[in-house]
Symmetry: C2
Subunit: 388 residues, 2 copies
Amino acid sequence: MEDVRPAASLRAPLRLPHKALMGAGPANAPPRVLHASAQPLVGHLHAEALRVMDDIKDGLRYAFQTTNPVTLCLSCAGHGGMEASLTNLLEPGDVAVVAVNGHWGARASDMVTRHGSRVVKLEAPLGQPVTLEAAEEAVSKHRPRLLFLVQAESSTSVLQPLEGFGPMCHKYGTLLVVDTVASLGGTPLWTDRWELDVVYTGSQKVLNAPPGLAPITFSPRAMQRITSRQKPCSVYYWDIMQLGDYWGCFGNPRKYHHTGPVSLFFALREALAILAAEGLTASLRRHAEAAARLHAGLQRLGAEFLVPDPRHRVPTLTAFSFPNVDLQAVARTAMTRHGVELSGGLGPTVGRILRIGLMGVNASEDAVDNVLSVLEDSIKNPILTNKL
Amino acid sequence: MEDVRPAASLRAPLRLPHKALMGAGPANAPPRVLHASAQPLVGHLHAEALRVMDDIKDGLRYAFQTTNPVTLCLSCAGHGGMEASLTNLLEPGDVAVVAVNGHWGARASDMVTRHGSRVVKLEAPLGQPVTLEAAEEAVSKHRPRLLFLVQAESSTSVLQPLEGFGPMCHKYGTLLVVDTVASLGGTPLWTDRWELDVVYTGSQKVLNAPPGLAPITFSPRAMQRITSRQKPCSVYYWDIMQLGDYWGCFGNPRKYHHTGPVSLFFALREALAILAAEGLTASLRRHAEAAARLHAGLQRLGAEFLVPDPRHRVPTLTAFSFPNVDLQAVARTAMTRHGVELSGGLGPTVGRILRIGLMGVNASEDAVDNVLSVLEDSIKNPILTNKL
């Protein structure tokens, strides 16, 4: 005798439209990646799954440009990458300096506080990166366990320069954590060359896999910190010592930590194979060219960029507005009439901007030209709310 | 100039075999579910995604047999369900009584300790459930914040009776948390009728979706505890107050918490539609019949059950051994020769048993007869290691 009955809406089969995901992400996934998602399941410790995980590790080391043995995926959203970075490196009472110039620095600060560590905010105006000088001042003063930076602050589309920050941090015994969720694969990022200690990203942006995985890499310096903790990581699910054994990073026999989302592994493996086939250098060039084309087009349309200095604009995502235009109506029109997603703002930029993403397959001349013409039409002939 | 080059193995496209996943899970996913995994991506806050999430909430309330408004999925493995339950209910210094009669109770104890709370272990011998009397003795003595039970202790295949535990706990102001990862949908479970406060499961077992989601439900009593915490949940990714707003459980406008794994949502939505179409009662009957058939067949083959009392055997998973048989060789033979997965032991039962799972589509006469004949062949004609 059932107490609760299923809802009527569950009777209909699932139907989904195809959209051009030209916002802040997820981006579109190419057919090869989607096809891989639907492969028959295998056990999470079967030889086939372990082989796929090994391929992913190789592909991620290529994407991150690192030889770090501890390079793997967390089975969660990019947010989990942020929390796992902080939770593995920090113990209660530790200090973290967090650069805050948009949504993501604020989120990281919240996580540090929840965890019982102390946060020092290193603020910069919206639309501007943190300077190396300001960072060194904060690091030399507070001698924090870590400095947290976001390469592509997706709420504003600011590109944070990273060169020089690693050696500066290491001078003071500080570790450098970098969020590359909205940038990896489309923006130059050299983990080893730049001495970055923890770098993480999300599967659903430039890499063009479905959301649900957070690739992450730990430098030997970061691992040294982790192995010398007083107590194990306070969150089992984020514990890199156990995850490293599941992913075979320490040379030990594989050990069950959790049941990995194998169908997402299949998809990400194919996405990384596509990146390897194109080549990282070519992918970076393609993203830079697409961004230049988009910026020129936006300028022609009279857009005002949120990031004034072109050198500080991330190629994968562009934030802008138009004076005296109802931006919400523009986004609604693009979606309703054209099936094209443009994102609004996020956190401190909600309601003030639009954001166009050029990530992976969407960083092409065709996609740029299409989104520009959709934008133009949506500005000229917006669908007003009262007409819906 | 790239410092690191991609591995050669990434050049080959992905190829995966089809296997019968008759172990402890993941189970096989039916074609409709796999097909849904490969649907084009949509944004995690698009109307289509929200509709899918609403369908999932309805389907989960049906599967859990609850009217709890706070019923949703965590974007992680079942392990995350365990940690989120504990982390949301406990604050540092709180006491949790954890039933330990296999792997999962031990894992939950570890999580409680990492979190800074105090664990009292309520131990029972391997192969036996915890009695209501023993539980009441511990709860009345320690007055814990919560009692943690596992309905299907998958390392031993013990079925934990749950009736009476809810009202007993509530007499002492204790909340009841139940792990149903290996049981939900195949074993009677009545969240509201039995007064269970937090119940979670995994997407990849009886529900037949890919791994990567942890469905979970919180009773009003559990929510009252959470809203009266001194401090917010120490882990952002597990914070049910924010997740509840992302899933639209509190009647507020949807709020971004993380990027949900939409392709896994599509798959789980279809898996729940399949359960709703069959009916929970019919599904439970089918699992019970398949288990009875399997148990009779195992008896004919001379198996010794790890759980002596048939009333304490969970229908979805059966642990057994054969005297003087190389169990590892049997599992290897089943996999290598027949493409059929049988699981070995886990935690305290490693090397001592085999486990056959009958979960979802695999709980059928055909599947049972097939696994029994594969088992018989693998015992009689094992592939020995030195022949590989």
